[in-house]
């Protein structure tokens, strides 16, 4: 259950974070305009926003969002996808992704852009074939940090009242039942999955990183 939540929240963060980061990295005006907002929003802990997001989204779930309320009393995955929780996952994950992407776009070598220009590439072509590929290692780094943050946030969020599924819930519940064996096992699983996420993204990003660092 936690995995599905993270997958949703993280995908949303990546889907929005990468384009925003690209825009902020490439355009001076977008950076000026958005950076204040990002810098104000970024230090706000996602957990701090959980109560607020529950108020805003009223514990609505995805099944309600898609008008599938008749599924409400059945065991259904969408029933457990509280919008508020997805929102704070998004919040936790999106900032490292934005910052990583900006960093990537900004670190494109000037010579490569000049070469592209002389070779007849217009702005869009350069963006697609020069800026994005050379930003890729940093984007992956941002994604890696982002998924780590999502994973931390989900565990904490699931421990709060009002949840009855997920590994965070399991940790709290087993604590209440004094089943410390289950609690410890869950913690180990959390650590293991966290590492798996991070390694997975790392190996995905590896190829682009190898190509860039070799050249320097």
């Amino acid at each position: 259950m936690s995995l599905v939540r993270v997958a949703l929240g993280f995908s949303l963060a990546a889907l929005i974070g990468i384009p925003v980061g690209l825009l902020m990295g490439a355009s001076y005006h977008a950076r000026k305009f958005l950076s204040l907002m990002v810098e104000m929003a970024r230090p706000l802990s996602a957990i701090a926003l959980l109560p607020l997001s529950i108020i805003i989204f009223k514990a609505k779930t995805f099944s309600q969002l898609f008008g599938l309320e008749y599924l409400r009393y059945q065991k259904n995955l969408l029933n457990e996808m509280q919008l508020g929780m997805i929102f704070i996952l998004f919040w936790g994950g999106v900032f490292p992704i934005i910052l990583g992407t900006i960093q990537g776009v900004r670190s494109v070598r000037k010579m490569h852009l000049e070469a592209a220009g002389i070779l007849g590439a217009n702005r869009l072509f350069s963006f697609r074939h020069v800026i994005i590929p050379s930003a890729l290692p940093d984007i992956f780094h941002g994604l890696k940090l982002g998924i780590g943050r999502c994973w931390m946030v989900i565990i904490a969020a699931e421990m709060l009242p009002g949840t009855n599924s997920g590994i965070g819930y399991l940790i709290r519940y087993s604590y209440q039942l004094s089943r410390y064996d289950i609690m410890l096992a869950s913690i180990v699983i959390v650590a293991f999955i966290g590492a798996l996420f991070s390694k997975g993204l790392e190996s995905l990003g590896e190829k682009s990183l190898v190509l860039r660092s070799k050249e320097r």
Partner: protein, 250 residues
Amino acid sequence: MTALKVTNLSKTYRESAGDVHALGPVSFEVEAGEFLCFLGPTGCGKTTLLRTIAGLEKPDTGEVIVQAPHDGGEPVIGYVFQQGALFPWMSIFANLEFPLKAKKIVQDTRRKKVESMLDMMGLSSFASSYPHQLSGGMQQRAALARSLVMEPDLLLMDEPFSSLDMRTSQELQENLRELLKSSSTTVLFVTHNIEEAVYLAGEVIVLGHRPGRIVRRETIDLPDPRSRLSDTFTEYLVSLRKTFESLVSD
């Protein structure tokens, strides 16, 4: 026909430590198909001159006019950097394909052009390699190929062989002469290596120290193929070295 006309070009870099008057004013003209070498000590504004002609820098004064080709289109300008301008995330083939793709040339034509260029440059076996897998000499060869595949009217080369060892550098100089024999491309080649200039150039312009100014213009009248060991070659070498030394000692 004049391929390039540069008038009163000058450039000053404004930096926090103070203004650096890097170049000029310089004026000169180049005939179409000419191979012109700019020879000058480090910091004489050679690179600035080339970058300004390429449109990478804006001059403070003066203008650059690149003659349009016969078909009346925009002149195509090629530029070979000192090193490291290949895109490291693309194979050699993809690197060469880049300018053709940017010009929206159809895939079949693109493929043919790249393949024949790779063949001509002796790079066919490296088509699917990445730049970092190639030696420095091969990388510069590929960078040159990437510029030539656009069939430029004007080719600007900024010390393209200076980072290579002598043997490799000479080999590439020979290749370059061979390649240009059959083309009408006008070349501006910047170097601080006198021998390289005498070997390659039809004409040499010596640039003086900061701010870069034209000190001497000399036609290199040597038969083809050029021999580095011939007496006339050495005479040019010595004569240019004298000019060069007097500049450095100033």
